[in-house]
């Protein structure tokens, strides 16, 4: 996620850091470059304008010129402004009301509302809640079936009442929740255009009838310049309390995140990072800013690790990584636990300085399966000392794992790459002197 934006910023910062002294002229040129990077990342042009003006104003201030590392100063300004744009601090969902607490999910067609409902329900159940899913999309063919099937997959109850009167479906669902002891009600409303007055009024009616504790606006993370128009219109009509960005596992640069937050002033609560029901992350502006700028997101990585890996094993593994003692055996041991945390590229993208190195490395799942088979076909000694794997051993391993010698070679090469990447992790120093303050999570 945000990979391309990140790599653009990494290039740009490298250039900027090279300047011993910054002149007004090269600051202005830098601003033009930032403008282009942001526009190509789908940040709304008006938001870009404001951003550039603020950064430029600060960058032209005295401190930058006096500083021995003016480039670093500018980077810090950009980072701060980015966090400012994305909003300060993580804001949690409000469950203070008397249960059942209704949550209303709204958005344009195809933004990913129904999938989000399922993800949110799962997320809340893991936090000890008892959610009820409500099929209030009576328009799209088979939308109710979709929610029913998702409910069945996740073993969660779904309230459906056919294809008439969504307001009534919602109010009845609250009664049902009260009766059956569900404490959160997630209302899946139909996708609609923000300029469709009648359909927007329907949402207002549902809101008035149900009085939801939270209304979440779901926006497509691949959206372009118009994202702000729809988001603003929904905000004016419904006064929603938070934003969810979906499809951020694609390679879109995700600039819509910045724009929507900036234009509506509402916090981004969650981001969707995959099709599986657990591909939902809480949104933290500061972490996202560092991720966009190529500084990694160690905190989320640690949290993910804590969620899925037991503490002791994680620490042991981390120590090995830090000391570059990571053998193929460890690799195999950690294989399943790592995969529980998400895809490898997802994990790697959170490690500072990794964004760049990952380019061109193919990390898809079937490759992972093959990798597992190859390692399983090695003897324990080979796994501990991969350098002893000579030609005839390679042949044997290939035959044993149903792969080719090339595959084995490739794996050994990748293992070498991984090891050198891990060595670098120890050396990675933050940008703008910011990162070293964050303790290295696993070492």
């Amino acid at each position: 996620m945000f990979d391309q934006l990140t790599s653009r910023f990494e290039d740009f910062f490298k250039k900027l850091r090279g300047h011993g002294k910054l002149t007004e002229q090269n600051i202005q040129q830098s601003m033009r470059e930032i403008r282009r990077i942001l526009l190509e990342a789908d940040v709304n042009f008006k938001v870009v304008k404001g951003f550039i003006e603020r950064v430029q104003e600060k960058a032209l201030g005295q401190e930058v010129f006096k500083s021995i590392t003016p480039g670093q100063q500018v980077i810090k300004i950009i980072n701060d402004e980015l966090i400012h744009l994305l909003g300060e601090g993580h804001s949690r969902l409000d469950f203070s009301g008397l249960p059942p607490v209704p949550l209303m999910i709204v958005g344009l067609q195809g933004s990913g509302k129904t999938t989000l409902c399922a993800k949110l329900a799962l997320h809340l159940r893991r936090k000890g809640k008892f959610p009820l899913l409500v099929a209030a999309d009576i328009y799209r063919p088979a939308a109710i079936d979709q929610l029913n099937q998702l409910g069945k997959q996740l073993d969660l109850p779904v309230w459906a009442m056919g294809t008439k009167n969504p307001v009534k479906i919602c109010t009845e669902s609250i009664k049902e929740a009260r009766k059956t002891g569900r404490d959160v009600v997630i209302l899946d409303t139909a996708g609609r255009l923000h300029i469709d007055k009648e359909m927007m009024q329907e949402l207002t009616r549902i809101k008035d009838a149900v009085k939801p504790a939270e209304i979440l606006y779901v926006a497509d993370g691949m959206a372009g310049q118009d994202a702000v128009n729809a988001a603003r219109e929904f905000a004016e009509r419904l006064d929603y309390s938070g934003i969810v960005l979906t499809k951020l596992d694609g390679d879109a640069k995700g600039g819509a995140a910045l724009s929507i937050r900036a234009v509506t002033g509402r916090p981004i609560r969650f981001i969707g990072t995959g099709e599986k029901p657990d591909a939902l992350e809480e949104f933290h502006p500061d972490r996202m800013a560092s991720r966009i700028l190529g500084m990694g997101d160690i905190i989320t990585l640690v949290e993910k690790a804590q969620d899925t890996v037991d503490q002791e094993t994680a620490e042991k593994m981390a120590q090995k990584i830090a000391r570059s003692e990571f053998t193929l055996e460890d690799f195999l041991d950690q294989f399943k636990q790592i995969r529980k945390m998400g895809s490898l590229d997802q994990i790697m993208s959170m490690i500072p300085g990794m964004g760049k190195q990952l380019k061109g490395m193919d990390l898809n799942e079937s490759e992972l399966n093959r990798t597992e088979a190859i390692i399983l076909s090695m003897t324990p000694e080979e796994r501990r000392k991969p350098h002893i794997i000579n030609g005839s051993r390679r042949k044997r391993i290939a035959a044993g794992s149903g792969t080719s010698v090339q595959n084995v070679n490739q794996l050994l090469k990748q293992y070498d790459q991984l090891r050198s990447m891990m060595k670098q992790m120890g050396k990675v120093k933050g940008h703008g002197g910011k990162f070293p303050k964050i303790p290295f999570p696993m070492g």
Binding site: D42, G112, P141, A142, Q153, Q225, D226, D251, K253, S366
Partner: protein, 312 residues
């Protein structure tokens, strides 16, 4: 209502705002200067045309303006010139030939990212070709998303076309293969295959798409005869990357742009047409089966740039 009116109707809100803003700027200028070009640049970028294509279009505009006589350089004509350039860059990629659908049955494979509007577009396409007296069959090869098959079945019902399907989780290539076999045996004219939405950077899902095409070729080496990529008009600069990868993997032959009845202008299609030389074939303007229009570059360029004459 003709194509143009329908398109205008769908884009009315957009154009009203855009038109009046631009008009104001143009009216306040006695001559064509840099400030005016800046305003035009913002307008094009706001339409998702992208930085590169916008700069190219503006360069072309400057060239055109240069060729005008001194007293012809009235700011009022600038929108016409701009519309002309946009329309040209969209038409140059419209292949002169008709759609490649003369085979019996011809096969259209529909691909795209999640939520772009594939299934709805298929229903509209089915209706469109049915009205042209073609016997249309649909294949539900999205066996992944919950209730995707049910959604297509419901559309099949509404439009009145046959839908071939298997159970959820079935191999999509097998569904496509069986559907083609059935369409051939029963003498259908056109088979439209729905596929699961997938992000283009998911290598294994993209391979699944390649497999569908491979399997179809076992029965008919020319199939699929058309591969349409459905693009959401609200998508930003990522659309170009989507189009590149889908074209590489599944040999996209044309584009369908959905959701143009909103305020998004879908300008991301312009760099796609310019760079990949892919024709935009159809545009979606609503949720009903008849809300599909054959794409007309001139009308589109005009509709997004011309000011509204009467408030909608």
């Amino acid at each position: 209502m003709g194509i143009f009116n329908k398109l205008k109707g769908g884009l009315s809100k957009t154009r009203q705002k855009l038109g009046s803003q631009l008009k104001n700027i143009i009216n306040s200028h006695a001559r064509i200067d840099d400030e005016l070009y800046d305003a035009l640049e913002e307008t094009l970028i706001a339409a998702d045309i992208g930085v590169d294509a916008t700069l190219e279009i503006l360069d072309a505009l400057r060239d055109k303006v240069k060729q005008l006589s001194a007293n012809g350089k009235d700011p009022d004509i600038i929108l016409d010139l701009l519309a002309e350039i946009i329309s040209e860059s969209l038409s140059s990629s419209v292949v002169e030939s008709e759609l490649n659908l003369d085979h019996h049955p011809a096969v259209i494979l529909i691909v795209g990212v999640n939520g772009s509007g594939k299934t709805t577009s298929i229903a509209k396409l089915a209706y469109h070709f049915q009205r042209k007296n073609r016997r249309v069959m649909l294949a539900a090869a999205d066996t992944f998303r919950a209730a995707a098959t049910e959604q297509l079945l419901e559309w099949g019902n509404r439009v009145g076309v046959t839908v071939v399907h298997q159970q959820s989780g079935a191999d999509p290539a097998a569904v496509a293969f069986d559907a083609l076999q059935s369409a051939r045996a029963k003498g259908y004219d056109l088979l439209i295959i729905d596929t699961a939405g997938r992000l283009h950077n998911k290598a294994n899902l993209m391979q699944e798409l390649a497999k569908i095409s491979r399997v179809l070729k076992k029965q008919d080496p020319d199939a699929p005869h058309e591969v349409f990529l459905v693009l959401d008009s609200t998508t930003g600069q990522n659309a170009l990357q989507q189009a590149k990868v889908f074209q590489e993997i599944s040999g996209v032959t044309g584009l369908v742009m959905s959701k143009l009845d909103g305020t998004a202008k879908g300008g991301a299609v312009i760099p796609i047409c310019r760079e990949l030389n892919l024709p935009l074939r159809f545009i979606g303007l609503g949720e009903k089966k008849e809300d599909l229009e054959v794409f007309d570059p001139a009308a589109y360029a005009k509709a997004i740039l011309e000011p509204e004459e009467q408030p909608a």
